[in-house]
Symmetry: C2
Subunit: 114 residues, 2 copies
């Protein structure tokens, strides 16, 4: 069971780091081994390895060992979890926004009922 899907908050935290976002960007168009991933980034290869561990732990990446290489790829399920989280947040934001607008337009004295 390579299937992790932890809470998406962890994934967001992982994407908070710019180097990790760069790694994800480099994986958008296809899987890559660690070496190629590091070549093109400004940090050392061990640093990339550490970032890959973090990203894998959140379920955003998955590994496919091929001989001595370890090929990393975006994990669709991880990205999907993030999408679901943001969709729900979006939904709540719209609802709250609409409620706020309603409170401000229709009832003229429902200002601050406290």
């Amino acid at each position: 069971m390579t299937y992790t899907s932890p809470n998406p908050e962890t994934a967001i935290a992982a994407l908070g780091d710019p180097t990790r976002r760069a790694i994800v960007e480099r994986l958008r168009h296809g899987a890559l081994p660690v070496g190629e991933l590091a070549h093109g980034l400004t940090v050392s290869r061990p640093a990339v390895s550490q970032h890959l561990k973090v990203l894998s732990d959140t379920g955003l990446l998955e590994v496919m060992p091929q001989g001595t290489r370890r090929v990393y790829a975006l994990a669709p399920e991880g990205v999907a979890a993030l999408r679901r989280y943001l969709d729900a947040l979006w939904d709540d934001a719209l609802t709250a926004f609409a409620a706020e607008a309603r409170r401000r337009t229709s009832p003229p004295d429902t200002e601050t009922p406290e």
Copy 2:
């Protein structure tokens, strides 16, 4: 023009902090002034103010001054920008994933042409 819509990467970076995610969570169900927002969090009110500034700068929040209070709310457009970013990432992830699967099933010698 209160309309910001910066690159969503900044918003993701902002959400990397757990306290800021807590703030966003507290705003899911409706707008709140700074004081109420801070009450319920483990950090001091000035800390909350600083986080609110970061979140507002990324376009995730907007302010509605009401007298001496400043009421913060989720900015639908900011959340939407994040959603679009992740949707595109999701799309690329699926495409890359499908391509990978194809490479592994159909052509038996398209392994690593290099």
